[in-house]
Amino acid sequence: MEQSEPTAPLLEMTAIGKTFPGVLALQDASLRVGRGEVHALIGQNGAGKSTLIKILTGAYRRDSGTVRFAGQVVDFQSPQQAQAGGVSTIYQEVNLVPFRSVSENIFLGREPRRWGLIDWRRMNREAAAILDRFGIHLDVTQPLLTLNVAIQQMVAVARAVSFDSKLVVMDEPTSSLDEQEVATLFTVIRQLKAEGVSVVFVSHRLDELYAVCDRVTIMRDGRTVAERAMGEIGKLELVALMLGKDLSVVQRSGTTAFADGVHHAAAELIRADDLRQGRRLQGASVQVRAGEIVGLAGLLGAGRTEVARALFGADAVDSGEVRLDGKPVHFKSPRDAIRAGIGFCSEDRKTEGIIPYMSVRENLTLAVLPTLARRGIIARDKQQALVDQFVQRLGIKTSGPDQPVRELSGGNQQKVLLARWLCMNPRLLLVDEPTRGIDVGAKGEIQALINELADAGLGVLMISSELEELTEGCDRVVVLREGRTVAEFPHATVSQGAIMAAMAHGSESAPVEAVHG
């Protein structure tokens, strides 16, 4: 292979733009991948990674920009075309046919034929040969579903290779794998590299990127903000670029509507110790006192949402203890947690928040309904009074309580969801990215509201990816990294740099004043 003079890169996507109705998804995004290079693609939620990959693989059409692949300008119309052109994609959730054999999956759609019938012997032989190249020896006639997820992914890789792919895109391939399986996948990636196949690798686990990738492209807000060699960029710089922070400038206040100051934290409300759940949580601990806002920081996949869901009884944990008012509790369902006075405003409004066809009134009162009803009959006047009160208090813009909630803007939907929990007068509110994807005005209103509620004695655990929200709004910030609590900063000493350092390195190697919780 040509080692010396770097020839034209295998893939060159330049100035890619893409708009969805009402959303500018990509704006001047680019991606360059060299031949035989393992290239990391990283960015926060909504940075545009998936959109860029889908444009590359033909699932979406771009609005502007050019894609050059293997020296030619290409315009893939569908994933099938991209595959035929040499670009294969392996998704997080394996999308093969579970009940068919390994070899059938590898050759699906282009089975070797003889006299018009499938040449089984040849198919099995060739499938086994491909897998052998990656050091995987198994019975290729067994159904795919009898194999573990990692091996299924290897089969997906084998399928991609059998297409003579020049580029394999792996979209968060490791998120459902255990450590040993990740190691196997890395062996395969290195084998691909040795054969001159390029890989685009999307992952949120920084350590994995350093273990296997040569170069990295960092995206933010629909743009490509940096492209570096993996060896030349530190984790901290990587995180800073992802979040869009300049390491030298650390802003202290004035960008959010949170009051810069400490609330009067009272008695301990809830405390979770050493929560463990598969590979997602590996020793997460957090505590919230009445009347304080605790920020939960971490990169995507660090286990922040998992902690909130565990506290709320939405998911079971393998081990760990949750104490409410000092007494151990085991919530079997969100219903139990709600009875204990806990509310959970989930991150994804559409899939876990609103009931789209129900009215503002019904959405707002859904959680509080049992206390509004007598013998199961809803007291309409009480319900209406409560709805009026919260529509006014939160300034929800709606044509009336009968309007279906799906017709509201994102910010107003978020207010309805906050009101759903506030109207039951909770003691503890878990909020997951409360200001994501809503306009600036509504954002400030919601921040001010959370602040006011904490002043009134509510305990708040706030998951946020915005460092300003964490440094300005929170009395304490707990940082998670790969499912583990790695640092905790009181308001007085917290800084964006310290949070980023903890996200990047964990507390052990972080050159900051990390306080262990």
Binding site: P21, G22, F312, A314, S333, P334, R335, I338, R339, F344, S346, T351, E352, G353, I354, I355, P356, Y357, M358, E362, L366, A367, L369, P370, A373, G376, I377, I378, R380, K397, T398, S399, G400, Q403, R406, E407, L408, S409, N412, R420
Partner: protein
């Protein structure tokens, strides 16, 4: 985005065409029913004759009773294929009870009472079985209820040894042929059930929860809705109502044939729900709409037969009209 524009329009009012559409969506089925009635008053002899009215209502009552239960199931995003078979189960059990073959008793009225209650409860229990397959074992509703769709009629045939049971029992048959205030008893029953469930869907926690589960199950669970219990409940209610309809069916015929009681009922019920304007995707439901949907289908059939069109052809026309009704509603929503 169209949705955003809607919110921003002054006073939150929908633009004129959209309001027209919304109106049609709400009252489309009712208008169609009205048109059918007016047409028949004009062109079908004896249409308003009490005997004709009663016969139409009597025929539609079991369908409505089953379809109302189906509406609740569909509102949660499910479907219940077993209702026809559960009608056969209830229809097979009742004569065994009041004919003293199953539970010998010296007091006939006790037998009649039990014959009215036990089969309905048994059908309800089968409904709970459906519900538990869906709620606990996460089996898709269409498959879960297919189990009893197949097995239910078999059970009915086994308990009756496949024999036709003929009977004359005025006490029991009151449920099918009674005429309090000159109105067929089952029609009164139908009206009461429709009114009760229409009210329950609006005014009770249960009704809100049913719509929440169908509208967004993940969100409902996080909001504290007892999703599992709600699913059990709707399939249980669907079973109870199917059992009741089964009793009415055999009471009218004065005989119970496990092969034919409730045959094709699941399809009529689903069609009524769909024509009535309840989308099969769940999250929205109209009990009154289902009543109207069932009446439309009944009247179409009646109108065609009254005008001498053979039943075979009438079936084709009926299917075409169902397709048209559902298609129009689909368009309006898009």
């Amino acid at each position: 985005m169209a949705k955003a524009d809607r919110t921003l329009s002054p006073a939150g009012r929908l633009p004129m065409p959209a309001r027209f559409q919304a109106l049609g969506q709400t009252y489309g089925a009712a208008l169609a029913l009205l048109a059918l009635i007016i047409y028949n008053i004009g062109f079908t002899p004896f249409f308003l004759n009490p005997a004709t009215v009663n016969s139409n209502l009597t025929q539609v009552a079991p369908v409505v009773i089953v379809a109302v239960g189906m509406t609740l199931v569909i509102a949660t995003g499910g479907i219940d294929l077993s209702v026809g078979a559960l009608m056969a189960v209830a229809g097979a059990l009742a004569p065994l009870i009041f004919l003293n073959t199953l539970l010998p008793s010296d007091y006939p009225f006790i037998g009649i009472g039990l014959a009215l209650i036990v089969p309905v409860l048994v059908a309800g229990a089968f409904g709970l079985f459906n519900g538990s397959l869906v709620a606990y074992f996460k089996i898709q509703p269409i498959i879960a209820t297919l189990v009893l769709f197949i097995a239910g009629r078999g059970i009915a045939q086994v308990v009756t040894n496949g024999r036709l049971q003929n009977f004359t029992n005025p006490g029991f048959q009151y449920i099918g042929i009674g005429r309090p205030f000159g109105l067929p008893f089952q029609v009164i029953l139908m009206v009461v059930i429709v009114a009760a469930l229409a009210w329950a869907m609006r005014a009770t926690t249960f009704g809100r929860y049913v719509l929440a589960v169908g509208g967004n199950e993940a969100a409902a669970r996080l909001a504290g809705v007892p999703v599992t219990r709600i699913k059990l409940a709707v399939y249980g209610i669907s079973g109870l109502l199917a059992g009741l309809a089964g009793l009415i069916a055999i009471a009218i015929n004065a005989s119970s044939d496990a092969n034919s009681v409730g045959l094709d009922m699941e399809l009529d019920a689903i069609a009524s729900v769909a024509v009535g304007g309840t989308p099969l995707t769940g999250g929205r439901a109209t009990v009154i709409g289902t009543l109207i949907g069932a009446l439309i289908i009944q009247l179409i059939r009646y109108t065609l037969l009254a005008h001498g069109i053979p039943d075979a052809v009438a079936r084709i026309v009926k299917a075409a009209i169902i397709l048209a009704a559902v298609y129009i509603q689909r368009q309006r929503r898009a």
